[in-house]
Symmetry: C2
Subunit: 349 residues, 2 copies
């Protein structure tokens, strides 16, 4: 199996936490890795983990800054992200991981890896901590101005991704809207609804903001603007809720005593909603899987991202997207029946 | 002062809870009211509260159904909502309250009350439970496909509303986007940012999903699609968070004991985030304030909505919007300076 290439200079705590995360990914998850960054520095850090010489390094001195946006790919042709892309392109690696600036990583890898044949725009898929299975939400910000056809393709990308991530052969796909009926939404969503209902995907119809954490579909599709707002709204609401809760639980002496009795349960809950546990976003639609870890990732987050990248590479993400494009985009022969029926999940032959 | 007119047939618990809420609004908040609905039934319900004959009733037998949408205004010319609008139009009432279907109330009142002169589209403003002041988010769903000029007008509507609701002479206005810099967002938001920066509103620049509950502006502007998704995402996240918390806090015997010690603090917190406490949405931009209470409103929610409607009527909402339209829409003489400066909150003379 091809190794995963890790950008060791992306993120707030690079390269220290990147290298620590790499060592964890190799030791705990058997992920074969290549590190990209300043060779000497990386070697020193590896030595601190007794891992000197254990993980191959490709040297470069250039790195994207955290604020760096769409022009980064031109300004820095030898950045760690650019080198990582070249390794995938030349068949030396199967997927990459970076905790660098999302805009910089998206721009550089879109230029270097190029979009998969037939895919109009890339999308970032993120994982929401729903039960019993996580939910894949996309696009979380790669394509702010989408067309209906792009939302259909995002549904295919999300389906391919969820097949690998969740092991579900036919993940249910929902469309984020502002009412559950087919006619509800803005123009973009109404048209996308028609396209999805006519596809052979497992389309379950419109879902709303309050459905995002309810596990009503394995894949929820939206444009990059709405998806980014929704994702950050969830994160912000959980953060504010947790802070207010902490304050309430320590407001009086009896409440504080109560909190002490709940330490274990509250810890497990916050673990589940902690974004580091589930890795980061994945840029889909390019000729290679690109996992974008949170900029604030520590070793644990980097390890999880490397494992995810390896799973996607082994699961042949790019090939699965190709299959989806081949099969789902053709309107089925049932394309003209009323939405309600298609939405029920009947699989046209 | 003109009374508030209450649609007694809207909502899941009409007319019982509507009448109970009306009695509460009169007794506890001195709100002068007119009730609209089936006179005989309303009289019987009023009698149960020892309030027979204390609140005037305008009779009609027609009511909008909860599922009723945009066509309602044509199908039911004598619905409670239509009658309430006529009372405002003829100067018999200053504002109205309904817990009926949002689509039906919006459609009926837009047709009957008409948009204020110069306002392109109405917007629904909702109140988020931030500290120290609540935050007004609009549009929460009246105008799903907005143009940049409409977002500018929503900012004016929100400013007028926040002036009355919060008593702040120059409320800060933020634009919901997917990055804090001026160039971030979709096409709609980028153009709206320019218009807002050139206006004389107290524009503080872009805000993101995670800022919604952080009280960083008194008014946050967005299109009706994004706003509706964001609002429902907050509600859904709080609901899921609370449910998971409840489960965690009762998962073991010690945790359960802990929860008992915190009853008071948890109660106060959930009260703050309970949507019934802060009334519902307000439809802005028409010739009269229309308060849309939650469909699930009980007496307490109806009372709060009546008080809000009365405050808006007394605060001369419609006149304040007119003022905003007159002053803010003219690009200031500083219109051409860089965004960063305007965004800093400098007030042009």
């Amino acid at each position: 199996m091809l190794p995963v290439v890790l950008d060791c200079m992306g993120g707030d705590h690079a390269p220290r936490e990147a290298v620590a995360g790499a060592v964890g990914a190799v030791r705990d998850h058997d992920v074969p890795l290549i590190l990209v960054g300043p060779a000497r520095r990386l070697r020193t850090l590896l030595a601190e983990h007794d891992a000197a010489g254990k993980i191959p390094i490709v040297h470069t001195d250039q790195a994207l800054e955290m604020g760096e946006g769409a022009l980064a790919s031109w300004r820095k042709p030898r950045s760690t992200v650019a080198i990582a892309c070249e390794l995938i392109k030349h068949g030396k690696a199967g997927a990459m991981v970076s905790a660098g600036s999302t805009a910089g990583v998206v721009a550089t890898s879109a230029v270097r890896l190029k979009g998969q044949h037939g895919i109009m725009r890339p999308a970032i898929a993120v994982t929401l901590p729903t039960l019993p299975l996580p939910t894949v939400l996309l696009d979380a910000g790669a394509t702010a101005d989408a067309k209906p056809e792009m939302l259909l393709q995002f549904a295919m990308l999300g389906t391919a991704y969820a097949q690998i991530l969740l092991g579900v052969p036919r993940p249910r796909v929902g469309l984020l809207s502002i009412g559950s009926e087919a006619g509800k939404g803005n123009k973009l969503v109404k048209k996308a609804h028609e396209l999805l209902a006519a596809s052979s995907l497992e389309f379950v119809g419109n879902l709303e903001g309050h459905d995002l954490l309810r596990g009503r579909a394995e894949v929820i599709v939206t444009d990059g603007f709405t998806g980014n707002v929704a994702l950050k709204t969830i994160e912000g609401t959980l953060r504010v809720g947790a802070a207010e809760l902490r304050q309430a639980l320590t407001a009086s002496r009896t409440a504080k005593l109560g909190a002490a009795l709940q330490r274990k349960e509250l810890g497990a809950l916050s673990e589940r909603f902690d974004s580091e546990t589930y890795g980061g976003g994945v840029l889909l639609g390019l000729n290679g899987a690109v996992v974008i870890a949170h900029g604030s990732s520590r070793a644990r987050g980097v390890s999880a991202a490397c494992k995810l990248a390896y799973d996607l590479s082994r699961g042949k993400l790019v090939d699965r997207v190709k299959e989806q494009l081949g099969s789902s985009s053709k309107p089925s022969i049932f394309a003209r029946r009323p939405h309600a029926e298609t939405a029920g999940g009947v699989t046209p032959g």
